[in-house]
Symmetry: C2
Subunit: 172 residues, 2 copies
């Protein structure tokens, strides 16, 4: 194994869920890389059955947080990316999650932090919030599966000490 | 951005779905890395609500392929990893998919290929195949969400030319 490969695994190991952010916005180049590498994810029958609403408007993020009824669910991050799966596709929740995972891993390369925020799905899939959906340009026929926040970490998060390694059986 | 970071993104971009494999088995060290980095994935409320059956028995993989009714669904790969999500967890299909995504990306570092094979869920979730489930040591209360095959690629796959980049809106 080359040292490049070792370094690559070190990056994959470096992702943490970040729950404090600075106010500095991510750059367009960073966003563009997140989306491009997301688009390279595997999808069932290559349907690429995903869509993303990238929300960088502080008022909207604030309002969504309040609607959720939770205390500061978006952690003050400057970017919220809501993820949508096409409902008539074969395996679009999985496809879309693979794409989001690529975003989360890509962010590490730029020193950005992310956190998966599941509760966003309840907002976007609630007919009472149809206006939010249309503000965000979400196409018809897509359901929200959750979201990530993205930004510059304002905290250091230690290596996880709590990972269960007893998660598989081998059948030979 | 450092050259290391550029290299990391290059690795993330390098993943392809591989549909031809050599007979060479993956090593225990490679498997161990796949599982360790999978275990570092994000999960809702840190539930880590995933389980994996690593099947390296050629006869079982063959029999599963025949049961599926599809023509060679596992592409002759020497390792099949079926992924299971705990049914009473908050967001376990997403959690488990994030863990599988980490496996798919980690494999690239070792020159291994992977392919997501969705149809495996139909086998493991069918009560008629309870014996397969117990052979594979799957705990009660977990549903299969799909699988990946892993092995040494016996084909070169070109860069994807067909990726839709029009997959997001920005709300500022």
């Amino acid at each position: 194994m080359s040292s490049e490969d070792v370094e690559y695994k070190a990056f994959l190991r470096r992702r943490r869920s970040i729950r404090r952010y600075t106010q500095e916005q991510i750059t367009n180049a960073e966003l563009s890389d997140l989306m491009e590498i997301a688009s390279l994810a595997a999808s069932a029958m290559n349907e690429q059955a995903w869509y993303f609403a990238v929300i960088q408007n502080e008022e909207i993020i604030q309002a969504m947080g309040e609607l959720s009824g939770l205390d500061n669910p978006y952690y003050g991050a400057p970017t919220l990316i809501a993820a949508f799966a096409r409902q008539d596709a074969i395996a679009s929740v999985i496809d879309t999650t693979l794409a989001v995972s690529n975003m989360m891993n890509t962010a590490v390369a730029d020193g950005l932090g992310t956190c998966f925020i599941y509760c966003t799905k309840d907002l976007f899939n609630d007919p009472r919030h149809a206006e939010l959906r249309s503000t965000c340009g979400v196409p018809d026929g897509y359901e929200c599966i959750g979201s990530i926040v993205v930004g510059h970490p304002a905290e250091e998060v230690e290596e996880p000490q709590d990972r269960n390694q007893d998660i598989y059986s081998i059948i030979r």
